[in-house]
């Protein structure tokens, strides 16, 4: 397999440099409010521009310095191997992140009842992810009942507390 090794710091440095340059560009082209006769040194772009220059300078140090601290292999197989060595569980993380983002970023506030959505999210998360190495976890009736009970209880309590005690209009 053709694997290309990058120094993570150098790649990171490059990303930071591009980001810093974008900030500097955005600050430079920002309205200087000359029509308001403000002192040029207090233009809105001054501080972000200086911060952008600082980010670029640190990024350059990150890219150009001699020592290499961490190397990352971007091929999937090698990444998994490195992760396993460090105790990193990609599969569990991916499934958890997928469930969390689907709940918080996709479904929340799109007309789905908050309590039902929260209970479903909790139920699926508790059912599919447990302490074992298996992802998704082995589903048994006992685990399904426990997950369902916890999900219903938490969703009900959170809904009641935020809706009736904190007077929040739920999404």
């Amino acid at each position: 397999m053709d694997t290309t090794r990058f120094s993570a710091d150098r790649v990171g440095g490059l990303i930071w440099f591009v980001f810093g340059a974008a900030v500097v560009y955005g600050s430079w082209t920002m309205d200087r409010l000359e029509n308001l006769n403000i002192p040029p040194a207090t233009a809105p772009g001054v501080v972000p521009g200086l911060l952008g220059l600082g980010i670029m300078a640190f990024a350059l140090v990150l890219m150009l310095r001699r020592e290499r601290t961490v190397t990352v292999d971007f091929s999937g197989e090698a990444a998994e191997q490195t992760a396993d060595e460090g105790g990193f569980h990609w599969k569990r993380l991916s499934l958890s992140a997928l469930l969390c983002l689907t709940y918080g970023a996709v479904l929340l506030g799109r007309g789905v009842n908050y309590s039902a959505l929260t209970a479903t999210f909790l139920f699926l998360h508790l059912l599919l992810l447990d302490e074992s190495e298996d992802v998704p976890a082995r589903i048994t009736l006992r685990r399904a009942i426990i997950a369902g009970t916890i999900a219903l209880a938490v969703a009900t309590v959170v809904t009641l507390v935020f809706q009736y005690i904190f007077l929040v209009r739920l999404p």
């Binding site: 990171g12 207090t42 001054v46 980010i55 990193f88 992140a97 992810l129 959170v158």
Partner: protein
């Protein structure tokens, strides 16, 4: 002096109501439980509680946060001793000797030492908080825009330098925080910066959703990415401390208290560094350094005194200068702002009673720690048996609804999610969250004071370098940068050696 004592007395009496006492001890217990749970940091607890206490009276909300903060830092020592897993980062140093003592069958004694160290450390810090906050506030009254600009920059730079393994990454995280704080309408001309015409972005990112993302969602992702192991608790006996242990190490206690408070005052450094610094100093000056790491009572006492002393220590600059001493203090500061408390030099002029209210809050939490720490050991440890796979989705649900409840905007939920993922990725590559958060909190101070200074100097930057205090702060910032960038430092050493070789060749040769 007597004014201070009177205000402190007033504060203590003011909190002697059933509701306040229930809140204080309840929050301390909650903090303790959360601290016991590996994966729940003190910052996460305070951030979540900030969203849950929004509707409370300001003084009661801050009471809950301060008590939970102090309780969480102490609670982490339990898991450090019994499971060799630090409940919070601040308790990592306690693992070394605490767990070794537990394996020798002295877990109860170790917990007693940890409780004593935490209580004495907090009380020491509490006295410093009461004495130094008004003094620092008095000094800060003479600060101008120039000094506040450098102070804010020094805070971010110091935090990045000390918290991160690689200072450059710490500074990058800090500068990103400063930049993010500047998004939206700026404070001088209400000009929208980097909002790209988006109405939500025009208002800027609210602090709390970003903090919930940085410390809540990113923590959930971090825990879910780790391999789980069900902890086994070691058997233990009585946790009542021995008087002899306390008096034998009084020098270590005072030294660790001083180090803890000092490290706490340093902007954005935090309790973990306070614990390690106290531990290292105690080992260096110990008569029995060979016992360290193998079950040293002195080592455990030093670590636990140091981390808890840094809690009030971190609150000192947060109150007097509006510059937080640690990441949890940054959240605390944000909560104070939300509740209408204007921390900073004017606090001692406008709301001096508040400073002593906070001192009383720390006192109540210390009493709570002593009580729960000595008499509620076994029930507390049940919490460590709750699987993290159950806790994490519940915490995520609270992160989501907590962010949303601030202003009933889905934008805040997306902010929380976005910054959660960003901080998680950054942490995987060695960019710490603390400087980022400090940058976020200090961004407004830095921005306004830099531009205010430029207005006062009529566009001239010289006053930033010529005013005596400004010059000292500027030199400190510059020195921190230069000495921590290896390339520059190496070049400086080479240049100095070359110069010495030219000017004084014989001396160099010898």
């Amino acid at each position: 002096m007597f004014d201070g004592l009177f205000m402190f007395g007033t504060a203590v009496v003011g909190y002697l109501t059933p509701v306040s006492l229930a809140l204080a001890f309840g929050a301390t217990l909650l903090g303790l439980l959360a601290g016991c749970m590996p994966g729940l940091s003190a910052t996460l607890v305070i951030t979540l509680l900030t969203t849950l206490t929004l509707k409370m009276q300001p003084n009661q909300a801050i009471l809950v946060l301060v008590c939970a903060y102090n309780g969480a830092i102490y609670g982490g020592s339990r898991t450090a001793i019994l499971l060799n897993i630090p409940g919070t980062a601040a308790n990592a140093a306690a693992c070394l000797d605490g767990y070794a003592l537990a394996r020798q069958g002295q877990a109860g004694r170790a917990m007693g030492i940890a409780t004593t160290g935490s209580v004495v450390g907090t009380l020491f810090g509490l006295i410093c908080l009461a004495l130094f906050t008004p003094m620092l506030g008095e000094i800060a009254l003479s600060f101008g825009a120039f000094e506040f600009f450098w102070l804010a920059l020094l805070g971010v730079v110091t935090s990045g330098n000390i918290v991160a393994v690689d200072p450059v990454k710490g500074w990058l995280a800090g500068f990103l925080g400063l930049f993010v704080a500047g998004i939206g309408q700026e404070g001088m001309y209400a000009y929208e910066r980097f909002s790209f015409g988006n109405a939500d972005l025009a208002g800027g990112f609210q602090l709390i959703p970003v903090l919930v993302g940085a410390f809540g969602f990113s923590e959930v992702l971090t825990v879910m990415s780790e391999r789980f192991a069900r902890p086994k608790i070691i058997e233990f006996g009585s946790a009542l401390p021995r008087i002899r242990d306390v008096f034998q190490y009084w020098r270590t206690i005072i030294r660790s208290g001083v180090i803890g408070v000092w490290v706490g005052i340093l902007p954005g450094v935090g309790e973990d560094m306070a614990a390690w610094s106290s531990y290292a100093a105690a080992k260096r000056l110990s008569k029995e350094p060979e016992k360290y790491g193998k079950g040293s009572i002195e080592g455990l006492m030093a670590a636990e005194t140091g981390d808890n002393a840094s809690v009030p220590g971190g609150i000192i600059p947060a109150l007097a200068l509006a510059i937080p001493g640690s990441a949890p203090c940054a959240v605390l500061l944000a909560a104070m702002i939300i509740h209408g408390v204007q921390a900073g030099p004017m606090l001692m002029v406008e709301q001096p009673q508040f400073v002593y209210d906070v001192v009383a809050m720390v006192l109540f939490s210390t009493i709570g720690i002593l009580f729960f720490g000595l008499f509620f050991i076994k029930p507390l440890l049940k919490i460590t048996q709750v699987p993290r796979s159950i806790m994490m989705p519940i915490i995520f649900v609270l992160c989501v609804i907590g962010s949303y409840s601030l202003s009933s905007r889905l934008f805040d939920v997306y902010t929380m999610l976005g910054f959660g993922v960003l901080v998680f990725i950054m942490r995987q590559y060695g960019y710490p969250a603390a400087p980022f958060v400090l940058g976020l909190v200090l961004g407004d101070i830095l921005d306004k004071n830099l531009r205010r200074g430029l207005v006062l100097g009529d566009g001239d930057i010289l006053p930033f370098f010529t005013r005596p205090l400004s010059a000292i702060l500027a030199l400190l910032v510059l020195w921190t940068f230069i000495t921590n960038v290896k390339t520059i430092n190496d070049a400086m050493v080479r240049g100095r050696n070359a110069l010495l070789a030219k000017v004084w060749p014989k001396a160099r040769a010898s």
